[in-house]
Subunit: 105 residues, 2 copies
């Protein structure tokens, strides 16, 4: 499996989601998989990278701000966001950023 998102030439957008979790799963892993599956079928979705230690960092990549806005307001995703605030996250930050250039090893 390739852990790097196969993003196209910039410009494109990144949503940097940084979070700290509550203790225990509470259905989190299943929902996270479902949301990634659902996100990856949205128009404008380009890729996803994720890691967790003391803090979790997930970066999703999108073609444009409109795709990000549409996914944010998706009904199933809104339910997951609410559960996130209630059950899964102690705290989080969301940063929406325009990728201007990139390079590889």
């Amino acid at each position: 499996m390739n852990h790097f998102a196969a993003t196209p030439e910039p410009p494109y957008y990144a949503v940097i989601f940084t979070s700290t979790r509550t203790a225990g799963d509470h259905g989190y892993e299943t929902m996270a998989e479902t949301m990634l599956e659902l996100a990856s079928r949205q128009p404008g979705f380009l890729g996803f990278e994720s890691a967790r230690a003391a803090v979790g960092i997930s970066v999703s990549y999108w073609a444009d701000l409109e795709s990000i806005r549409r996914w944010k307001h998706d009904v199933a995703h809104r339910k997951a966001q609410r559960r996130g605030r209630e059950d899964w996250y102690l705290d989080y930050r969301v940063r929406i950023a325009k990728v201007e250039y990139d390079y590889s090893m």
Copy 2:
């Protein structure tokens, strides 16, 4: 300890560094700490967030592109970058992105 970078109001810049590691440490942890210490004293440095699972994601935040460019060309950092390519990383991606807006839980 707060694991979230205390970034100011956007706009500012994010450098998203995604990597896969070689097996073993090879001096990586010590150098990573030294580089973070050094980066945090650079003009324009705003903060840092990092996590590693199958993939590692480190995001550093900067005031502007000039600060990022200057840090990229720092002599000690260039040595670390070379060791990174030779010893520590199987592969990596670097994405430079302008944070346009952000929000919290």
